[in-house]
């Protein structure tokens, strides 16, 4: 096995492959940093361009993009509170407050180093797990996928800073939107009102662009001023400090990377769940959970480590079973097929060299993109000093026109604008927006898993309870739902004690 690893590494060490790797990294950073573009768009735009390349060069290009997108996304998440891609949304929770406190450099430095370490840990895990990947993925059947998705909803709602109920409502709202379009089981058209565009459902990328980029720009335009609030508040200093912070919080990095690796290996769950799960777990085990959401550096490190680790392990279901872990991997499947590779168990035998080249390209991109991102931070940070009244219309324009450009459908721009208003309204009324994203990503998968489970059990619901992994997942769901009420109860009990003590003393 080590000889195959080395062969894959060696095949990358050619001028052409290295050039394409660097090109992919630059593209990944730019597409990752620009809110609303992200990895799937970058890969989709690159797909026709890779056709003329040999398969190793194409893997280098794709690996460069996929490895660098999270770093680019973290920069815009920290500086603009607008994640370049959905998984970076978790980084906003503490990255943006840090930027507002004048610690943008610290946050970006920590994000870059956590990204690199997460990528490395993810690669090591991938290299170890790839041979036994089949058993790992096969252990999860449709009932487990169904329950895992529900666990994802509960965890995201729990991490909504004391707004679990509203987080769950947002999840339900998102799922209702996700069910629009053709039903996968019966083929019936649902909630489309005769609009042909909606037959495929509400398109994910335009909706994401609206929810994040669009609604943030509405807020920025209304608020006025600069993104940083006060231009003197944004200081891109102490990036080295961010690196030190990452090494100081090594358990957070390792925990996040392992969570990312585990979640990434499960198809359909994706980076959003990985980053939020890592964030929530880090918050739960922290001695100071209240500081999360207000600029805790661990709130940046945990999701960033998970995102890159997830990108590596997401290759397992994509390559081994042809089941993409998310939108980015779905586009990547297209590149594999374009180059004559057939994703599935046989690919691990027939295209080992390409697979390991891709793994190494991804690793190199994860590590190098951190450094490249740090070099580009200063010019990118200047974005936060542009007046909001100027920046908001410009980003809104890129968001809507970029949304149209995905498949040159003007309906995409309509979806983006509508979701921008929905996102702003939710933010204004105190509802978290992030659960909607999870719902839109997992909506189709959760319904498919539900129907498959019902078919497997002849309509008997006990299938969700009687399988060992399902039982563990149900326990996790119950725990996730109980965390917020129990924490609230615990806090009130603690608050009452000093008062009772004071009364007794009196």
């Amino acid at each position: 096995m080590p000889s195959v690893w080395l062969s894959g590494f060696e095949s990358l060490l050619h001028a052409q492959e290295l050039v394409f790797l660097c090109l992919g990294m630059v593209m990944g950073l730019v597409f990752g940093a620009v809110p609303g573009l992200g990895g799937p768009t970058a890969l989709a735009l690159l797909m026709p361009l890779t056709y003329g390349l040999d398969s190793i060069a194409a893997m280098a290009l794709a690996g460069g993009v996929m490895g660098a997108v999270p770093m680019g996304g973290s920069i815009s998440a920290i500086l603009l509170n607008t994640p370049g891609s959905a998984p970076n949304a978790a980084t906003c929770l503490d990255g943006y407050p840090l930027a507002q406190q004048g610690k943008a450099g610290l946050a970006i430095g920590a994000a870059a180093s956590a990204n690199a370490l997460g990528g490395l840990i993810g690669t090591v895990s991938l290299l170890l797990v790839l041979p036994i990947s089949k058993e790992l993925v096969l252990a999860f059947g449709p009932p487990e996928f169904f329950l895992l998705a529900i666990l994802g909803f509960c965890m995201v709602a729990t991490s909504s800073r004391g707004k679990m109920l509203r987080g769950l409502i947002a999840s339900g709202f998102g799922l209702m939107i996700a069910f629009i379009g053709f039903d996968q089981v019966t083929g019936a058209s649902r909630f489309t009102f005769g609009i042909q565009y909606l037959w495929d459902g509400v398109h994910l990328v335009p909706a994401l662009i609206g929810l994040f980029a669009g609604s943030e720009m509405i807020k920025l335009w209304i608020k006025g001023g600069t993104i940083a609030g006060d231009s003197s508040g944004v200081k891109i200093t102490r990036m080295g400090g961010g690196l030190i912070e990452t090494f100081r919080h090594m358990p957070t990095v390792i925990r996040g990377s392992l969570i990312g690796t585990a979640v990434g290996a499960l198809p359909g769950v994706g980076g959003v769940v990985a980053s939020f799960l890592s964030y929530t777990v880090t918050q739960q085990v922290s001695k100071d959970p209240d500081s999360f959401g207000r600029g805790n550096i661990q709130g940046v490190i945990a999701p960033e480590a998970a995102i890159n680790a997830k990108d590596c392990s997401a290759l397992i279901p994509t390559i081994a079973f042809g089941i993409p872990g998310g939108a980015e991997m779905a586009v990547f499947l297209g590149i594999l097929i374009l180059h004559g590779m057939q994703p599935g168990p046989l690919m691990l035998i027939n295209n080992e060299r390409e697979i390991y080249s891709l793994v190494w390209a991804l690793t190199a991109a994860c590590v190098l993109a951190g450094g490249l991102g740090l070099l580009c931070v200063r010019p990118l940070a200047m974005v936060t000093l542009v007046p909001g009244r100027v920046l908001a219309p410009l980003v809104m324009t890129i968001a809507l026109v970029g949304s149209w450009a995905i498949d040159q459908s003007i309906e995409n721009a309509v979806v983006t604008a509508v979701f921008a208003v929905i996102g702003y309204g939710m933010s204004r009324l105190g509802y978290p927006r992030l659960p909607i994203v999870i719902s839109l990503v997992l909506g189709a998968g959760i319904e498919r898993s539900f129907h498959q489970s019902m078919a497997m059990s002849d309509g008997n619901w006990s299938i969700f309870v009687l399988r060992p992994i399902s039982t563990v997942l149900i326990a996790c769901i119950a725990l996730a739902l109980l965390i917020t009420p129990l924490r609230s109860l615990f806090r009130r009990t603690l608050a009452r004690r000093p008062a009772a003590g004071a009364q007794e003393a009196a």
């Binding site: 409502i169 209702m176 019936a188 909630f191 209304i222 100027v390 324009t397 026109v401 009130r492």
Partner: protein, 164 residues
């Protein structure tokens, strides 16, 4: 909290309940297998929205629900309410919708120029020239990126497209 502000606090759960209710009505017209998940999710959302509504009432049960499930309450909402001017908020929401309409009717080039100019000029009416220059620059950049580099045919708009 003044009575109007308290009233607006109920809009959100009521809107979710109305949406879920309408969704349920539509879902029931679907074939049995196609409606299973939508109906289930709509019922759950309806129930959760009812709980949210209850949590906003000043009753003991409402307060208990708020403490248990939404302990953060409406602090951030209150902050936003106190800082944002209603007219500016209406414009902030209306502009993207107007831009969307302009894109559909007038196309990307004209729509972009109109939107960028209007949005910047409305923020600072003393500098129309700056708004004009930025609108022209943004339109040129959009054209260069999408038509020049990516070789896409920019959407001409329903109205202008039919004239061309």
């Amino acid at each position: 909290m003044n009575p109007l502000a308290r009233l607006t606090g109920f809009w959100a759960p009521l809107a979710v309940m109305a949406f879920s209710g309408a969704y349920l009505v539509l879902a029931w017209r679907l074939p049995t297998e196609a409606q299973a998940m939508p109906v289930g999710v709509a019922w759950v959302t309806l129930g959760l929205a009812a709980l949210d509504f209850l949590s906003r009432t000043a009753t003991p049960v409402g307060r208990a629900v708020m403490r248990a499930l939404n302990p953060a309450g409406d602090k951030d909402v209150e902050e936003q309410r106190s800082t944002a001017a209603p007219m500016r908020q209406a414009l902030g929401v209306g502009l993207p919708l107007a831009f969307m309409t302009a894109l559909v009717l007038l196309g990307i080039v004209v729509g972009t120029a109109l939107f960028v100019f209007t949005a910047i000029w409305l923020s600072d009416r003393r500098r129309p020239l700056q708004a004009l220059v930025l609108a022209a620059a943004a339109t040129a950049a959009i054209w260069l990126l999408f038509a020049g580099v990516l070789k896409l045919n920019l959407f001409p708009g329903v109205l202008l497209g039919s004239l061309l």
